[in-house]
C-alpha cells in the first residue's frame, strides 16, 4: 500500500505565506447567498404558485357555496381576505416545514458554519420567501375577480406595505416556530395553524360573528390585523386601515425576528 504514497513535498521550498482569513463585503455575501437560496427554493416556485391558485379557488369558490345567495358585500369580504390567507399559509406553514427539513438534513448548520454573519442568512431567507409569497396576492385577486366580477379600489402604497409586512411577519413567526420547536412539534403546530387561519379567523368573515372572548384573542393575535390591513389596501372604499393593526403586526414581526436570530446565532 505504501508504493504509491502521495509523499508530502519534501523540497524545503520558500516558506509558505500564511493564508489570510475571509474578507468579503456584506453585499457580496448577500448576493451570493441569494443566488444559492433562490436556486434551492426556486425549484419549488412553480409548485407553490399552483398551490396558491388552488387554495385561492378553494376559498373563493368553495366558501361561496357555504353562503347561499351571497351578497356583493359578503363576496367582497371573502375576496379581499383571500390574499391574506395565501400569505399566511406560506409563512406559517410552508416556511416552518422547509426550515424543519433544513434543520434535520444539516443544511441549516452547514450555512451557520459559513464565514458569513448569521443574521444575514435570515435576511436572505426573508427576501426569498417574500418573492415567492407575493404572487399570491395577485393570484387571489384574479380568482376573486373571475368569480364575482368585483371592482376593487386599491390603495397601492398601503397594499404594498401591508403585503410586505404580512409576509415578513408570517415568515419570521414561521421561522421562529421551526427553529424553536422539535421537528415533529413544529409540523403539528403548523398544521393546527392552517385550520386556525382558514376556519377560525375573521379573514373571510367579519369579526362580529365571533364570540366575544374569541374576538378579544384575535385582537392580540396577528391574523386579524393582517387581514384588516390587507383589506384596506384592496378595497379602500369599503374598509379603512387602523394604526393599531400596524402596531400588532410590527410587534409580532419583531418577536419572530428576535427568536429566530437568537436561535441562529446561539451555540447549543
Amino acid at each position: 500500500m505504501s508504493e504509491s504514497i502521495a509523499t508530502p513535498t519534501t523540497s524545503p521550498g520558500p516558506p509558505l505565506e500564511p493564508i489570510a482569513p475571509v474578507q468579503v463585503s456584506l453585499w457580496t455575501s448577500f448576493r451570493t447567498l441569494m443566488r444559492w437560496s433562490l436556486a434551492s427554493i426556486g425549484a419549488m416556485l412553480p409548485l407553490i404558485v399552483i398551490v396558491q391558485a388552488m387554495l385561492a379557488a378553494g376559498v373563493i369558490v368553495g366558501f361561496g357555496f357555504l353562503i347561499p345567495g351571497i351578497t356583493a358585500e359578503s363576496a367582497l369580504v371573502l375576496s379581499s381576505g383571500t390574499p391574506t390567507i395565501l400569505l399566511l399559509t406560506i409563512g406559517l406553514v410552508i416556511v416552518p416545514q422547509g426550515v424543519s427539513r433544513a434543520r434535520a438534513s444539516g443544511a441549516l448548520d452547514y450555512q451557520r458554519a459559513l464565514p458569513v454573519s448569521r443574521p444575514l442568512l435570515l435576511l436572505v431567507d426573508l427576501v426569498v420567501w417574500t418573492l415567492i409569497a407575493l404572487p399570491g396576492v395577485a393570484i387571489g385577486l384574479l380568482v376573486a375577480w373571475l368569480r364575482y366580477d368585483l371592482t376593487f379600489s386599491f390603495d397601492w402604497p398601503l397594499l404594498i406595505l401591508a403585503s410586505l409586512l404580512v409576509t415578513t411577519m408570517a415568515t419570521s413567526v414561521g421561522y421562529a416556530i421551526a427553529v424553536t420547536l422539535p421537528a415533529m412539534l413544529a409540523q403539528l403546530v403548523s398544521q393546527v395553524l392552517v385550520f386556525l387561519v382558514l376556519l377560525f379567523s375573521p379573514i373571510t368573515f367579519p369579526a362580529s360573528q365571533l364570540p366575544d372572548w374569541f374576538q378579544a384573542l384575535h385582537a392580540i393575535l396577528p391574523i386579524q390585523p393582517a387581514a384588516d390591513l390587507m383589506r384596506a389596501g384592496i378595497a379602500s372604499d369599503a374598509f379603512a386601515a387602523d394604526g393599531r393593526d400596524l402596531l400588532v403586526l410590527a410587534l409580532w414581526t419583531v418577536l419572530g425576528l428576535l427568536i429566530t436570530t437568537r436561535a441562529l446565532v446561539r451555540r447549543k
Binding site: M1, S2, S4, I5, A6, P8, T9, L16, E17, P18, I19, A20, P21, V22, Q23, V24, T28, S29, T32, L33, R35, W36, A39, S40, I41, G42, A43, A102, S105, G106, A107, D109, Y110, Q111, R112, A113, L114, P115, V116, S117, R118, R267, K268
Partner: protein, 336 residues
C-alpha cells in the same frame, strides 16, 4: 500524549485546542482534549463512531459551545468570538452539503465567492476542481431534491470542492471519502495532501485509517471522548516497518490458542470478535507460520494470514473496547 506544542510555535498554528471538554447530559463527548494543527500540516483525527470527533469539529466552527477549554483558530478565539473564527475555517461536514437546485459548477462558484474569490476566479476554480477530482461530466448536472440528479459520491465530491474552492487557513474535512468510489478516493486523498502543501492546516476526520495513513503528518486518536494517542503515523504504529501481522480467524466458540503464547515474541496482541491480530518481527515469520499451520491442522483456528503490520493494527489496539476477552499485551493499549 504530548501537548507541549500548545506553547511553542504559536504563530504557525492554525488551530490550537487546549483542555476542551463538552458534555451531553452525563455523557462526556470531549474529555479534556488538547491538539494543534500547524499551517501546511495534515492532521488525521481518528476514532470509532461516537468517539467525539464531530462534537469537536462542531465546537471549532461555533455550532456547539464548549463546557471548558480553549479553541484558537488562527488569531481568533473561537470560544469568545466564533464569528471571527469562522472566517479562518472551511468545513466539509459529515452530513451532505446542501446543493439541491444547484449544479456542482454553480455550487463551487458560490462557495468561492463566499470566501472572497472574484467572479472570474470562482469560475476558473470550478473548472480546475472538476479536473482535479474527475467530476467534469457532472459539472452542469443539477442536484434535485430527495437525492435526485446527482449520486451520493458526486455530491460528496462537490461538497469537498466547495470546502476547498478558496485557500483557507484551516480546512476541516469530516469523513470526506464516504460514498466515493476507489479511484476518485485516491484523487481526493491527493487533493487533501495538496491543500496542506499549499499552506492550509488540514484537520481530517475519518475512520478510514488505512487510506488516511498515506497522507497525514500527524494523527490524533480519540476513544470515547478522550485523546488516547497522538503523533506521527510511524510513531503510533510503534513497531518497525518490517514487522508482520499474523491474523488468526478463531472458531465460533472463540477459544484463542494464542492466549497461551506462540513460543515466540509477540509485540502486540489485539482481539476483535473472532479475530486476533498479532504483531511479530519479520525474523519470526517462519516460526509464526509453522505455529499457525500446526494449529490450523488441529482445527484450533479456522484460518490465518500473514501480512505487513499496518497502522490499523495499532489503531485497533488503542481503541479496543474493554471487553472481558480483551487482554492487550502492548503497553500502548492501556486506556483509561
Amino acid at each position: 500524549m504530548h501537548t507541549d506544542g500548545i506553547r511553542t510555535g504559536a504563530n504557525t498554528d492554525v488551530l490550537r485546542i487546549a483542555g476542551l471538554t463538552r458534555r451531553y447530559g452525563r455523557v462526556v463527548a470531549n474529555d479534556d482534549i488538547s491538539l494543534r494543527v500547524r499551517a501546511g500540516e495534515v492532521v488525521g483525527l481518528l476514532g470509532h463512531n461516537g468517539a467525539g470527533k464531530t462534537t469537536l469539529v462542531s465546537q471549532v466552527v461555533g455550532l456547539l459551545k464548549p463546557d471548558a477549554g480553549e479553541i484558537r483558530v488562527g488569531s481568533a478565539d473561537a470560544v469568545q468570538n466564533p464569528g471571527a473564527a469562522r472566517r479562518h475555517v472551511a468545513l466539509q461536514p459529515q452530513a451532505h452539503t446542501p446543493i439541491d437546485g444547484l449544479t456542482p459548477r454553480a455550487a463551487i462558484e458560490i462557495a468561492g465567492r463566499l470566501r472572497g474569490l472574484s467572479s472570474r476566479d470562482a469560475r476558473a476554480v470550478a473548472v480546475e476542481l472538476a479536473e482535479e477530482l474527475d467530476i467534469g461530466p457532472w459539472l452542469d448536472q443539477r442536484a434535485l431534491p430527495e437525492g435526485g440528479g446527482l449520486s451520493g459520491g458526486i455530491r460528496r465530491l462537490a461538497g469537498f470542492a466547495m470546502a476547498v474552492a478558496a485557500p483557507t487557513p484551516l480546512l476541516i474535512l469530516d469523513e470526506p471519502t464516504n460514498d466515493i468510489d476507489a479511484s476518485r478516493r485516491r484523487l481526493l486523498w491527493d487533493a487533501v495532501r495538496r491543500r496542506g502543501d499549499r499552506g492550509s492546516g488540514v484537520l481530517l476526520v475519518t475512520h478510514n485509517v488505512a487510506e488516511a495513513e498515506r497522507i497525514v503528518d500527524e494523527l490524533v486518536i480519540l476513544d470515547r471522548g478522550r485523546l488516547v494517542a497522538d503523533g506521527s503515523p510511524a510513531r503510533l504504529r510503534g513497531t518497525q516497518d518490517s514487522d508482520l501481522r499474523l491474523e488468526l480467524q478463531l472458531p465460533p466458540e472463540g477459544v484463542d490458542p494464542s492466549e497461551d503464547g506462540l513460543g515466540l515474541p509477540v509485540l502486540r496482541r489485539v482481539r476483535t470478535g473472532r479475530r486476533t491480530l498479532l504483531t511479530v518481527a519479520a525474523s519470526e515469520a517462519a516460526a509464526a507460520v509453522s505455529w499457525a499451520t500446526a494449529h490450523h491442522a488441529q482445527g484450533r483456528i479456522e484460518g490465518f494470514s500473514l501480512a505487513p503490520a499496518t497502522l490499523e493494527d495499532a489503531y485497533l489496539a488503542l481503541t479496543e473496547p474493554a471487553a472481558p476477552h480483551a487482554t492487550p499485551t502492548s503497553e500502548e493499549a492501556t486506556h483509561v
